[in-house]
């Protein structure tokens, strides 16, 4: 079964960003096909920046970097979201890839279970 998770929140500020990624990790334990798309401000979750000490938080980059260990390898963001936030591709983790809106539509069509957080 193909699980598609759409994230829309930035890394810090609401616990659902983190807890939703936990849900994706739990899904991986069930040997399902998983795709993650970090939409809108959720693209900030993919920043390589590791330091969250000033806000006394656990760095979100930790769980993002762990995704491949859980065999979650389909990690996407939209080109237009990146450009709107003036982020360079180099500032985002290398295991995430840029897709077009057309590809997102294709994922939405092919997924059996779609959830957004």
């Amino acid at each position: 079964m193909h699980f598609l998770y759409l994230f829309t929140r930035q890394a810090y500020g609401h616990s659902l960003a983190r807890e939703a990624v936990d849900m994706a990790l739990a899904t991986a334990a069930f040997d399902q096909k998983i795709s993650l798309v970090f939409l809108q401000d959720a693209i900030f979750q993919l920043l390589t920046a590791k330091d969250a000490t000033i806000i006394e938080a656990k760095p979100h980059s930790g769980i993002i970097n762990a995704l491949p260990l859980y065999d979650i390898e389909k990690i996407f963001y939209l080109k237009e979201d990146r450009e709107a936030r003036q982020l360079s591709q180099n500032s985002l983790v290398a295991h995430a890839s840029e897709i077009s809106a057309a590809k997102l539509h294709e994922l939405l069509r092919s997924a059996d279970r779609v959830q957004s957080f």
């Binding site: 936990d22 334990a29 769980i63 970097n65 762990a66 260990l69 859980y70 065999d71």
Partner: protein, 111 residues
């Protein structure tokens, strides 16, 4: 609440033997925690303890078995990156016992 005595110091543990205060961890405390699970630490054990500590440092997660094995495979190759190797050194639930001995936060049983 339980306790370990290490070098004359009392170290607080919870009822499942996890450290109450993670900053109490030291190699001597690790040996005492391992003894609690009837394991006496060898060089091979220490290699895995250091592995889960670096896993935690890198990802901020107490390891689950599957990603931990994959991580071990990347670090050491498949000789040691397999569950049998982990089970031989830390029988029962290796990821859980390793988290305990290495002084990682107690897993919340969710993942």
């Amino acid at each position: 609440m339980g306790a370990l005595i290490v070098n004359g110091q009392k170290i607080a543990t919870d009822k499942d033997g996890f450290l109450k205060n993670l900053e109490d961890w030291s190699p001597e405390v690790a040996s005492a925690l391992a003894e609690d699970s009837a394991i006496s630490l060898t060089e091979q054990h220490w290699e895995l303890i250091q592995l889960v500590q670096s896993y935690y440092k890198q990802f901020g997660l107490s390891p689950a078995m599957r990603p931990l094995i994959k991580y071990a495979k990347l670090e050491f190759g498949s000789d040691k990156g397999n569950s049998l190797y982990f089970l031989t050194l830390f029988p029962g639930s290796p990821a859980k016992i390793l988290s305990k001995v290495a002084g990682l936060p107690r897993p919340d049983n969710c993942l």
